[in-house]
């Protein structure tokens, strides 16, 4: 098994607080890999380091055989890491189409070609009917899908999804789950942070549990969700 993404001993401190300490894991090509854990466990920090949005204090990140720790986020994106933001960040005054065209322009210098890619991705994500709408006028579920669409338009090898299901109704969650499954089947590797267990169990082939910045479990969903340490620290009352 070759790992598309391999993280070793990754650490990040905010003053005295160890937000992430010595975390390591591998994401194989074609996997859907989920990171779960309580609020403040360091999930988003870990994500930001992989995406280059935040420098790490120690450890290494290797992506497609190349060290990417220390790169800026635009350099990480150029190498094939697409991401969404937990608090959605559309380009608010631009249309849905233009939002996605900007993503697509990472891989082409032709605006017409970018528009073609955008309409493909928007169709895939059920947003094509909204393409001329200004992004700031979208509902939250639509904005979440727009985040995914913009990231997908960059033609990533690895897609990082930061809580794309949070705040969605179960039917909307199922819709995104179905879309992500299709994308994964088409060869996209996905790394997701998620609180909605319904989505995690439906999607993930591997799960990593983070607690107080440290890894407390990793494995297949079945094994991880039965792990007593995980039940105690994270699933808690929910599982009992």
């Amino acid at each position: 098994m070759t790992a598309l993404l391999s993280v070793r001993d990754l650490s990040k401190r905010f003053r005295g607080l160890a937000a992430v300490s010595n975390v390591g894991f591998d994401v194989a090509e074609g996997d859907i890999f989920a990171i779960i854990g309580p609020n403040g466990a360091g999930k988003t920090t870990l994500f930001n380091m992989i995406a280059g949005a935040m420098p790490c204090d120690g450890g290494t990140i290797t992506f497609a055989g190349e060290r990417i720790d220390g790169l800026r986020s635009d350099q990480a994106a150029q190498r094939g890491i697409g991401r969404t933001f937990q608090v959605v960040k559309p380009f608010p005054a631009l249309t849905v189409e233009d939002n996605v065209v900007i993503g697509a322009l990472l891989r082409t210098t032709s605006v017409n070609e970018a528009r073609g890619i955008a309409s493909e991705v928007l169709t895939q994500l059920d947003l094509i009917a909204r393409k001329d709408q200004v992004a700031s006028s979208l509902t939250l579920p639509d904005r979440k899908r727009l985040e995914v669409a913009r990231a997908l338009a960059t033609r990533p090898k690895l897609l990082l999804l930061d809580e794309v299901m949070a705040g969605l109704r179960p039917t909307e969650t199922d819709r995104i789950v179905a879309i992500l499954r299709d994308l994964n089947r088409a060869g996209l590797t996905i790394l997701l942070i998620e609180h909605v267990m319904r989505a995690v169990t439906a999607l993930a082939s591997r799960i990593l549990v983070l607690h107080h910045g440290a890894k407390i479990a990793e494995g297949t969903p079945d094994a991880v969700l039965r792990d007593p340490a995980v039940i105690e620290s994270y699933l808690g009352a929910e599982a009992l």
């Binding site: 635009d74 697409g82 559309p90 005054a93 605006v111 970018a114 990231a151």
Partner: protein
Amino acid sequence: MTNIWHNAGARGKLLCLLLLAVLVATPLAADRYLLSVLILVFYFAYLGQAWNLLMGFAGQLSLGHALYLGLGAYTATALWTLFGIGPWLGVFIAIPVAAAAGMFVGWLGWRFAIEGVYFALLTIAFAEFTRIGFDHLQVTGASAGLFLSVNSPGSDKWWNLGGGPLLYYYLALILAAGATFLVAYLRQSPLGYRWLAVREDPEAARAVGIDIFRARMIAMLFSASMTAVGGVFYGFYYRNLFPSQVFDIGRSIELILAPIIGGLGTIFGPVVGALILTPLGESLTALMEALGINAPGVKLIFYGLMLMVIISLRPDGVWPWLARRLGLSGARK
């Protein structure tokens, strides 16, 4: 191929070409005074385009564009008076001088994360330093000013940017129309999309692979270079330069009014803004003269009031509203 008419529609194209045709034909019917007002309209439309590129598209507020205007004006004028190098050649030296200054200001600001209002302060500071520097620069006449003689041989020839109002009229028209087409082209290019992304959300722009420092620097390069060309025009049209006037913050403010009133980040905003503001300002001056009232600064107070009225009534500017009224789609941000 980038299509600048992408958002325009047939009506937009027609109106655009019609306006251009009317303006080309205007000198046939207009008197000198009207021509001089129109020259100012084109001049402010042109500078408005240059500034709007940086602010309206790339989202970076500069309140010190007088720096590039002044450097352009002084470079070309000094080359002519000191070395006899004409403005058609001098402009190619004026552009890199102003562009280098712009790149330096941009580099200093964006490399060290001086953003927003602080970046604006930085741009003011550089225009001010430069003003003080030129106040003491003997070779360009220091604070006593630099003058272009009207009598020296060849100074009335078009190749030295001398001559009657017709020359300046058509030159200013070409500059304004050219800048508008350039901006329309850039808006539809990959670069234009990157600028919009950087303006809308720098962090999200980075996440789709945009090097935001580079995108901002390129916007500055275009904006400062275009402003420098406006400066060359200014120098040869007014034929006298004083540091306290050219580099003054009032200059920087005056050139941002048209795009703000017309509509930030729109292609026709600067043109519409200049078409509204300049004739009104000039009429006011004429009215005050006719009434025999000597009130310096009344025009600035008027501009201030206009700005307040427009911002409270049409915060997006006049053009997006006007375009909707005219049934055009080209006003999209």
